[in-house]
């Protein structure tokens, strides 16, 4: 595991910063998109950290039923406004 991923605080910050930067164009991401933030780590280690962030409330899931995506909590369209600006 890389030093960045091993350090929960730094890893969380890296994910939140990356998502905040992207927020203007996109708010929901596939798990694979997070691999770019941690290029030296294995997918399984990355998903553990990302899922932990859902548990601690920084991120939230969006699921279509067949695919699941991740986003910053409260960012982008919420269910009541889906399909609208």
């Amino acid at each position: 595991m890389s030093e960045l991923l091993d350090n929960t605080e730094a890893a969380t910050k890296a994910v939140v910063d990356w998502l905040t930067k992207k927020q203007k164009s996109k708010t929901k991401f596939y798990i694979k998109d997070f691999y770019k933030i941690f290029p030296d780590d294995k997918p399984r280690a990355i998903k553990k950290v990302i899922n932990k962030m859902v548990e601690t409330g920084e991120l939230e899931f969006w699921s279509s039923g067949s695919t699941t995506m991740y986003g910053l909590k409260g960012a982008g369209k919420q269910h009541s406004t889906e399909g609208e600006e």
Partner: protein, 442 residues
């Protein structure tokens, strides 16, 4: 009196077959009367509005559902699928109509007490409409509102010892046949393996980690009662590698048409007169590899050429038995036809030991190697079968460390080039040029 006029849906009741419309109407009426005095936690007219929105969709020729969403239970990335109606002013009862997937037990064994508890819970906190079972196998609870989700989850887990199933980019709830609990053909204990896999891979079941869905299905024998070969990304099919056991006396009882030895264990008896049993016509002549013969009152099977099609065993179950050296075959890559058409599973491991004493080590090793490759290389929303098509079956063999064998070959290769890797060539890429020049001029 129905809340909404549904003339088009009513047509669906006119055929000779059972109709879901009749079922929904019955449920709507039951909720309206509420003879049991249930304190409904979601709108009482949910079923009426469900019928109404469906009628409107028929009328408009387009859906009025918004599918997907943020809803879920704490810590779980699957098991709940959000659904909202886009015309809540007309159909307030289905403004939110979420689906919950409940992890079905191995072999789908229930007690009636459990089913009553489940139905009571769903009448109380949901629409009362269920789907037993969804394609993955889960118990599907259709229609509830967001505030009810955690309440339902609490009751399921605390009072019923019951977990949610998988949905989204998760491992889906593993599903199996009845296996050794009821079936003499089963080559391994499917229920035990489903139970193990469900527990071992809890994290993968509840916390999305994959590019897309991933399904395990387990068949106890090649009869494939759960059709794992067509329905799962990784299919476990029971098999054996020694000989089919033959009781020659019993074979002759079948041939003599002894009434205690009906063909197919009597499964087709009574439907029509099939005439006397004919071993040539019904068994040996139908063997797909022609590896059987019956001569001088003796049945002979050339087991090396048997493909475990199960036909002879199914027809003469008292005479023929599966072998004793049992295990399972692993096939990978089956999927439904969203991209590239439907695919059946391809054989990856012809024989794998099923050993609960070492925590099914041989099986989990293959699973985890396949997952590591797919998680690394799979594109977003790419099924394992599509990745195998894209990168090649050879690549899959490399990542799983399985040596190629004739059973992996589907057809002769069409590409005449062989791209060797350095470790496959004696001496690698290095060579002594001077030694070479002694025999070959420039």
């Amino acid at each position: 009196m129905a809340k909404h006029e549904t003339p088009m849906l009513d047509e669906l009741e006119s055929g000779p077959w059972p109709s879901f419309v009749s079922d929904l109407k019955a449920q709507a009426e039951k909720r309206a009367k509420n003879e049991e005095g249930i304190e409904f936690q979601i709108p009482v007219d949910v079923c009426d509005d469900l019928l109404g929105v469906l009628e409107l969709s028929f009328k408009h020729g387009r859906t009025h559902w918004k599918h997907g969403g943020i809803v879920g239970v704490f810590g779980y990335g699957g098991g709940v699928i959000g659904r909202y109606c886009d015309s809540p002013d007309k159909f307030p009862g289905v403004e939110a109509f979420h689906t919950m997937r409940v992890n079905h037990p191995a072999g789908k064994y229930y007690t009636t007490e459990y089913l009553r508890q489940l139905c009571d819970l769903w009448d109380f906190r949901g629409s009362g409409i269920t789907n037993m079972h969804g394609s993955t196998g889960d118990i599907i609870l259709l229609g509830t509102t967001t505030p009810q989700l955690e309440e339902i989850f609490w009751t399921l887990t605390h009072d019923m010892n019951q977990d949610l199933g998988g949905s989204g980019s998760n491992l889906r709830t593993p599903s199996d046949c009845l296996g050794e609990t009821r079936c003499e053909y089963s080559c391994y204990d499917t229920s035990a393996l489903v139970y193990f896999l469900t527990n071992e891979y809890q994290d993968e079941l509840h916390r999305p980690a994959f590019p897309y869905k991933f399904k395990f299905k387990l068949d106890g024998c090649p009869n494939g009662c759960v059709a794992s070969i067509a329905r799962s990304d990784m299919s476990f099919i029971g098999t054996w590698r020694d000989d089919i056991k033959i009781d020659q006396d019993a074979v002759n009882k079948y041939v003599e048409n002894d009434p205690a030895y009906p063909a197919n264990a009597g499964a087709y008896k009574g439907s029509r007169d099939w005439g006397p049993f004919d071993i040539e016509k019904e068994v040996t002549g139908l063997c797909p590899t022609k590896c059987m013969k019956f001569e001088n009152k003796k049945l002979f099977i050339d087991n090396a050429n048997c493909t475990r099609c199960m036909h002879c065993i199914n027809v003469m179950p008292r005479a023929l038995r599966i072998g004793d050296d049992r295990g399972l075959s692993i096939l990978v890559g089956a999927k439904a036809p969203i991209l590239d058409g439907a695919q059946m599973g391809s054989l990856l491991a012809p024989f794998v030991e099923v050993n609960p004493d070492n925590d099914y080590e041989e099986i989990t090793e293959i699973i985890e190697n396949v997952w590591d490759w797919w998680m690394e290389e799979g594109k977003n929303r790419e099924r394992l079968g599509e990745l195998i098509m894209r990168q090649g079956f050879q690549k899959l063999l490399e990542v799983t460390g399985i040596d190629p064998m004739p059973q992996h070959v589907q057809y002769p290769r069409t590409n005449p080039y062989i791209f060797w890797k350095e470790d496959e060539v004696e001496g690698g890429w290095e060579r002594d040029v001077e030694e070479y020049r002694k025999h070959h001029q420039r």
